[in-house]
Amino acid sequence: MSTTGRDWGDEAPERFYVITRGHPQPAGRAALDLVTLIVARAEPTPSMPPEHAAILRLCGSPLSVAEISAYLRLPVSAVTLLLADLVAEERVEARASVPAALLPDRALLEAVMHGLQRL
């Protein structure tokens, strides 16, 4: 396995993300958290289901699963299923939340504290 592009050093845990695209396991509930960031990687087309098109229009910039649910007024479970299809079709990129196994992580907490202090 190539290690290219996997230089995630301890100093920058906020750079941790996972591209769920292409994973063999179901990219459904397990992979998509409330705060997984979704970014469109395709244009909506007239032939796709309207909900899929709506998600693609929304996600021109990164948007969390929770925000997509709120804007589309759909339950999170429904949005997750729609997103699983879009991820499988490589129409969206899913930038996963920081994995729980890494928590608590001092560098991550420092980054959050630093950000909060600027509020």
Partner: protein, 206 residues
Amino acid sequence: MDFSGSDTELGPADEDLLPDSAAAAVKVVIVGGFGVGKTTLVGSVSEIRPLTTEETMTQAGAEVDDLAGIERKSETTVAMDFGRISISDELVLYLFGTPGQERFWFLWNGLFEGALGAVVLVDTRRLEISFDVIGRLEDRGVPFVVAANAFPDSPACPDEELRLALDLPPEVPIVACDARVRESGRDVLLALMHYLYDLAGPPPAR
């Protein structure tokens, strides 16, 4: 689609867009009883107007009807308000406010999974509604701080009294706050981060 004449949002306003460099997000859950100020707290620190998301949950009833031999199921819609704080160009923090008296929120897929920790927001006039929440967080090993929201007619309640009343372990931080004030809300979150930082263990030896 006809959404005219409502405050329905079709998407984020331009100023609410995250940069494309946003690569990962973390979350903090704010739990507390009805009317304790969760949404106020979320709103005071959030960079976006708080949004609401809903989930419908089906739970097997606790009681089984012996005569019919059927387990009763109940369906509930649980709503959560949430807000967002950009920590850096790459990292985003989401805050989810969820009702504490709900026995359903632990069923919410992924709400606590991967959460950094929780803030238990309490009203010192009505502490009893916080007992259940605190017990459940402890059971699940979710680290939390307690924030006492200052209401105008709240009685003065020294931290140690509050600790005793809530049966809190000595290490759990208690902070007073005014959920309406951004800096105060921020300080609650900072208290949680400092606590988590301490829990993460001593700094690496030099």
